[in-house]
């Protein structure tokens, strides 16, 4: 019986002998492969292989050339002139040039329902100067502009394919990237093949890239351990040991650019009282959170800007747990015996554990935390309507600091779930957008961070890092803090 089984397995593995295929395990099935309609983070994992962007990020989050080989900023930061790479073709044979850049930027900013329209709303017009030069005029200086083009808004899709396929484009994406779309089966796999005519000679090295979604952490890690996939992202903290103990596998940490923490509602419940906000915030021990819940894979946070990003200010300390201060603030807030509030979280074992850690810490100062689990869509809806007292929602992060704060703490901003409004913060935020000198921007963001640490619309608790697990044979994947795996230079050794 056993011999028979082994024979069956060997026989079937014969069919797997596809050389140089890398299989990637994701935590979700990417919903939409059209950058214009994409709003899920996981989409970008696949999109980054199919589409090139005008610019890319390097390991230090600096903007580097991609389809744009260079750029000039003119007229006090309101005009960007891009020089484009020559001889690049889309997968369907269409030439890449200034016309196609104009087509893409105009499509993103003016198609109804475009998810990109918001971040490109400051574009006034896009002009074709000559086939390799594009001139983009902004309504006002906007420092984050290049960083935005390093993500989905800078992805170039084939105009021919968009015009030919219409609504079906998202199921048949065409770009200039290192890999071409082959097929997808929802909830099962997305198959990409090497772009033989890629503009960067000698790349990509592998022949095929297969993405498979495994929503369950246990199943995802089991697939890595058994060798059925070569790389998984992300790895749950509890599974790190299993991967580290396997001689064929390694764990890589990607420093993150996002943050996680707690919104405190300034318009409802106990947190209308500033002293009570400060009391609760003082009970949180960020190091314990990191050690207990994330086994050392998260970074304690001092604000919206993680270490390694432009606006991070080392001189602003990570707030320490201080129970004496908490009690003092409780007295100041008129509730010396403590108070209680409801913390709303989305379902999930890690989030629940995290909430329980907060609960235990607050209890020591006499603050009772009731934990309420609400399904994610409802949670966002109620948070946006300011119906919740406190809610744990984080942000995946953007390479430019503006993307981590502008839409969050500004008066009436789209993602301001605290109802916080401080004209001084607003004016600093707007100034930081128009200043281009990095030192000057950092200084403005430091001022904002300090005000927020005091006012507490949000308690920044930690910066998540992306942990990936991969086969030792797989190499050539750069560690870029946006957490996107780039397979252009990846190779599979040992075959």
């Amino acid at each position: 019986m056993r011999q028979w089984l082994v024979a069956v397995v060997l026989w079937s593995l014969g069919g797997l002998g596809l050389a140089q295929t890398v299989t990637v395990g994701l935590d979700a099935d990417p919903p939409n492969l059209d950058p214009m309609l994409s709003s899920a983070l996981v989409d970008r994992q696949v999109q980054n292989q199919i589409y090139d962007k005008l610019v890319d990020l390097d390991e230090n989050l600096r903007i580097v050339p991609m389809l744009a080989t260079s750029w000039r900023v003119e007229e006090n930061g309101t005009v960007y002139v891009f020089t484009l790479r020559q001889g690049v073709k889309f997968h369907d044979g269409t030439d890449f040039n200034a016309e196609t850049v104009k087509f893409n930027l105009d499509r993103y900013r003016s198609t109804p329902g475009s998810r990109r329209a918001g971040e490109l709303s400051l574009i006034n017009n896009v002009q074709v100067v000559n086939p390799t030069t594009v001139r983009v005029t902004l309504k006002e200086p906007f420092a984050p502009f290049l960083a935005i083009l390093s993500d989905r808004s800078g992805m170039m899709v084939s105009p021919t394919a968009v015009q030919r396929l219409g609504a079906e484009f998202s199921n048949n994406p065409v770009g200039t990237g290192p890999f071409k779309f082959v097929e997808r089966r929802r909830q099962d796999r997305i198959v990409l093949a090497r772009n033989e005519n890629y503009w960067q000679r000698g790349f990509p090295r592998i022949e095929q890239l297969v993405y498979r979604p495994f929503p369950d952490d246990d199943v995802r890690v089991a697939n890595l351990l058994s060798g059925a996939v070569n790389i998984i992202t992300p790895v749950a903290a509890k599974d790190l040991a299993a991967i580290r103990n396997n001689a064929n596998l390694v764990v890589n940490n990607f420093p993150g650019i996002g943050y996680q923490g707690i919104w405190l509602n300034h318009t409802k419940g106990p947190f209308t009282n500033k002293a009570l906000r400060q009391a609760f915030a003082a009970t949180i021990d960020r190091d314990v959170v990191d050690r207990v819940v994330f086994l050392g894979t998260a970074l304690p946070s001092n604000g919206p800007f993680p270490p390694g990003t432009l606006a991070h200010d080392k001189s602003i300390a990570v707030p320490k747990r201080d129970l004496a201060l908490a009690r003092q603030k409780l007295a100041e807030g008129g509730r010396p015996q403590g108070f209680s509030f409801t913390l709303t979280i989305a379902p999930g074992p890690v989030l629940a554990q995290l909430a329980q850690v907060y609960q235990a810490m607050a209890a020591e100062a006499g603050i009772q935390v009731r934990i309420e689990q609400v399904e994610f869509g409802t949670l966002l809806d109620r948070a946006a309507k300011l119906e919740l007292e406190a809610v744990a929602v984080g942000w995946s992060g953007r390479p430019d600091p503006d993307g981590n704060i502008y839409d969050f703490v500004r008066c009436k901003a789209a993602n301001n779930y605290s109802g916080y409004c401080n004209p001084r913060v607003d004016s600093l935020l707007n100034r930081a957008r128009t200043v281009r000198l990095p030192e000057a921007r950092r200084d403005l963001y430091s001022q904002i961070t300090k005000i927020i640490q005091e006012d507490l619309p949000y308690i920044y608790v930690y910066h998540p890092q992306t942990t990936i697990g991969l086969s030792r044979r797989l190499s050539g994947i750069p560690v870029i803090p946006d957490g996107i795996l780039r397979f252009r230079g990846a190779s599979l050794g040992g075959q």
């Binding site: 919903p31 709003s39 109804p112 918001g118 609504a167 929802r186 089991a222 946006a384 993602n415």
Partner: protein, 314 residues
């Protein structure tokens, strides 16, 4: 017979209409706004409003229902909110996978459950009988996700005999397809096997105590002929009923099993469409599941006649 089938099918229409009302009402009671979930991090109030408008979610609910029903009558299931694909196409891609999984699970269940039940009845009150009872109860009681993960750890991670999860269409690679189906079919089939074993045992015991069995034995017929020719056939009717009823339950088990083994079938589709509030997909999946259970019931009735000549439909 033909008339009977026709009558049953027409009789089912009001039930299915009721299902459409219920599924529509239930999806709309679900908290969570599809537009918000669709937009995720990027949501701004204006964009949410725009998407709701685009999806027709701000129209009166009765209008939405009538619209959906009208589409249904014309054979149009709509487009997925999440992926913007034709719902009919998605269903068409997923259904065969789950049918295959159900088929193999049923096969596993019958191959294990039927002999085990017969054995237990023939060796009544022996160690064999007790073991079958214990195993049957375990089969029914062990949750699918637990057994599934257990199998993956044993056969994929520890022994590395079988890939842990995934799916390959049989026409692409039949061997791989069968290999990948093995663990899910066992996971899903064991619960049903337990039920079948218990019902077969009880039914067999009852039949074996009947006069005609005694008569057959008294005539000097061989034990095997008595058991397989006379007793089993008569014992089969309640067992077929149970299998028919449990097939509907297979779909529920498939939801979990497909999740564990990453099989892109109906169950995964159901879970994902609930989480994403992908109403058109969710409605179609529930409706087609209801239709499947209904058809299985008709089929079960027809099977009775095939097994027992005394039963005739007019």
């Amino acid at each position: 017979m033909f008339l009977f089938v026709l009558r049953r099918l027409i009789g089912g229409l009001p039930t299915l209409l009721l299902v459409t009302v219920m599924v529509f009402a239930l999806t709309r009671i679900l908290p969570g706004d599809p537009a918000r979930l669709l937009l995720g991090e990027e949501a701004t109030p204006e964009l949410v409003a725009q998407i709701r408008e685009e999806l027709g979610l701000n129209r009166p609910i009765l209008v939405q229902y009538a619209d959906w029903l009208w589409g249904l009558v014309q054979g149009d299931l709509g487009r997925s909110i999440r992926g913007n694909e034709q719902v009919a196409l998605i269903i068409w891609q997923k259904l065969p996978t789950t049918l295959e999984l159900s088929f193999f699970s049923l096969l596993v269940a019958i191959l294990i459950g039927l002999p085990a039940g017969v054995l237990a009845a023939l060796r009544r009150n022996t160690a064999a009988d007790a073991s079958v009872t214990v195993l049957a109860l375990s089969g029914i009681s062990i949750p699918n996700f637990f057994l599934g993960i257990l199998l993956i750890y044993l056969f994929s991670v520890r022994l590395a005999w079988i890939p842990p999860s995934g799916y390959v269409e049989p026409w692409v690679d039949l061997q791989k397809n069968l290999l990948l189906m093995l663990m899910p079919a066992i996971t899903l089939g064991t619960a049903l096997a337990g039920a079948i074993a218990r019902f077969t045992r009880n039914s067999m015991l009852e039949v074996l105590s009947q006069d005609y069995v005694r008569t057959a034995r008294a005539k000097g017929l061989e034990g095997r002929v008595v058991v397989y020719k006379h007793a089993l056939r008569n014992a089969a009717i309640p067992v077929v009923t149970v299998i028919g009823l449990q097939l509907g339950g297979l779909l529920g088990g498939a939801v979990v099993t497909e999740q564990v083994f990453s099989i892109p079938g109906f169950g995964r589709l159901l879970v994902d469409s609930v989480f994403n509030r992908d109403f058109p997909v969710l409605q179609a999946v529930v409706l087609i599941s209801a239709l499947a259970v209904f058809l299985i019931n008709v089929l079960t009735d027809l099977l009775y006649a095939a097994i027992d000549p005394r039963i005739r439909y007019h």
